[in-house]
Symmetry: C2
Subunit: 347 residues, 2 copies
DNA sequence: TTGTACGCGTTATCAG
DNA sequence: CTGATAACGCGTACAA
């Protein structure tokens, strides 16, 4: 309610001096500085954000776009963005696209006008639709869990995560592991597949069985579980924890023991992963940290966009165990080769 | 980038006309209206939010304060707020207090300056600390999942939910049900307790056993489960689904069957409730709807603050079953009376 | 119907 | 070190 003019008047100085005093600018006498501070304090003065934004051009706000706030993956990222923004004195404007890729460009545009920078979690927007959004308006953009040539990004060392998971499974004697993949258009699914095929190509006898693509949800996991069973898989690596939870539930429902009969590995390590029974072995991914890094990337003005890859770590819990030879007398499955979508894989 | 001045110039009209034309105001010739629209379109004109906010005094933004975005309860509310705000052409500024009640006043103040209205999910801030925040600044405030005299609110018909749960349990033959309560400072826990004691007082022989207060998390449920077992309870009603999930997990770990030996009922019906095994019987609460309503309450300018109570519905799944007489030869528990915190219960 | 001019609250420039 | 004063982009009385 109180304006800078009021403060200046109360302190007996000019607008300019009051402004300088409050913004810790140089060229203000100690006496005046104190006067102004006192006046501001007693009047309960708080600068008007819009007025400030109008002159400075900076809003003190960062935008965050996610497909679904209720998805624990994005919720964790959001918390990180939140925390870092607050630490650095900024607020966060959040937009949930409700998994609708179609509205993303519009949402981004609307949000883009009101923020100093934009953190984008748009795993499924095709690269060619994404690109114009990056360079379009002047505001900085940072990508989370995905990389693109034109914007800084923070993603995860997925290849290493896949390797850790595979090593773990192999050490347990599983020499053919099934992969329950995520959406075809997902950048990070492409990463997983690429790592998987690189790893299985070099490995020798052991192979990876492609179960196909599933929705990255509990339901997707249910579908995947049936396929894994039909293929006689003894271990299944999942696109993410939600899928893994679905696999677990389905296996339980169909009377197959985990990890007794089949081992399950997830990805992300969302909260639920450690609470379910059996507790999920999964590749822990520093989601909140990624959110924080993304915020910092916004103000990073290096010439070339920086691509940060955060380390991941397999956390072994109770959903994995040594392979049992006598599990099923099913004929050896004929492994389909891993399919990788060239459109998204190129990057 | 393009300003209204540019549009006006391109359209060959004055600023005022351009402004009027774009805001669908009357007193503009059809010809000019079209001219301006065309110019705006071709220049890719978008009004500067800060400039607009400065003159109109309205930011086109609503604020949302939650204790924890990663908590599915608040995430669901946030989605509702999000959706409704977007529909009505507003953006949402979100703040996660990370469960720290101490920072809430500060956060609210910071956010309050940048928004047209504030949606508050502060279940645990004591009433006397909350009150000044409501009437303080000029901006409207709406409360979610809690009521206070000075602000409109949207909460749930908790008493009815408790009744439905209790009826269900009683019909199954459970005549003493344990209550695993939430934090003492929680407004909605006080509601549950009040309903519980009203119900058990009038009911006659059957009673409610107070297990105490627990953190509203999985861990809290684990603690509660042990107490429930020690008390020989045959059914436990939980503060929320997270607690119920903890109870379920702990019972499983200790080898007691659900719902065979003990029935469990949750509250809220978060996504995980239907995915766990056994699927949780719980009181479904329209979280997203509450978020939407809260946004609408912000622009509701009735003299007295409106208090909306949304209906809830018990959804019966697999975690409840008839009481087994032969469950345990434990001595009849001596039910502690329900404790209600007068401080928060007064309201 | 249209245009001019002022004000919103700050920051920043430029004299004093 | 300090104080006028000019932007910033837009809405809107007021005048034409």
């Amino acid at each position: 309610m109180a304006t800078l003019r009021d403060v200046a008047r109360a302190a007996g100085v000019s607008l300019a001096t009051a402004s300088r005093a409050l913004s810790d600018a140089p060229h203000v006498s100690a006496a005046n500085r104190a006067q102004v501070a006192r006046a501001a304090e007693s009047l309960g003065y708080r600068p008007h954000p819009a007025a400030r934004a109008l002159t400075t051009g900076s809003t003190g706000t960062v935008g965050l776009v996610v497909p679904d706030l209720a998805n624990p993956f994005f919720a964790a990222v959001a918390k990180g963005v939140q925390a870092r923004a607050r630490e650095t004195g900024r607020e966060v404007l959040v937009a949930d696209t409700d998994e609708d890729v179609g509205v993303e460009p519009d949402v981004i545009e609307r949000l883009g006008d009101r923020v100093d920078g934009l953190v984008l979690c748009s795993p499924r927007l095709p690269g060619d639709r994404l690109a114009p959004l990056l360079t379009g308006a002047g505001r900085p953009v940072a990508l989370v869990n995905r990389e693109a040539p034109d914007a800084p990004s923070v993603s995860f060392d997925i290849a290493d995560g896949v390797r850790q998971a595979l090593d773990h499974l192999r050490a347990l004697g599983h020499d053919v592991v099934a992969y329950a993949g995520g959406p075809r258009t997902s950048w990070s699914d492409a990463e997983r597949r690429a790592a998987l095929s690189a790893l299985s190509a070099g490995g020798g006898a052991d192979t990876v069985l492609d179960l196909g693509s599933f929705r990255p949800t509990h339901g997707g996991g249910v579908q995947a579980a049936d396929l894994a069973l039909a293929a006689g898989a003894t271990a299944v690596l999942c696109f993410n924890d939600l899928v893994a939870l679905g696999v677990l539930a389905r296996l339980h429902a169909r009377g197959v023991a985990t990890p007794g009969d089949v081992s399950v590995v997830g990805f992300d390590d969302v909260a639920a992963a450690s609470l379910v029974t059996p507790a999920l072995t999964t590749v822990a991914v520093p989601l909140a940290r990624a959110g924080r890094v993304a915020v910092d990337l916004l103000t990073d003005d290096s010439p070339a966009p920086e691509h940060r890859r955060l380390p991941v770590e397999l956390v072994v819990r109770a959903s994995t165990a040594p392979a049992t030879q006598t599990h099923d007398a099913a004929p050896a499955p004929t492994p389909r080769p891993l399919t990788t979508d060239p459109e998204v894989a190129i990057r």
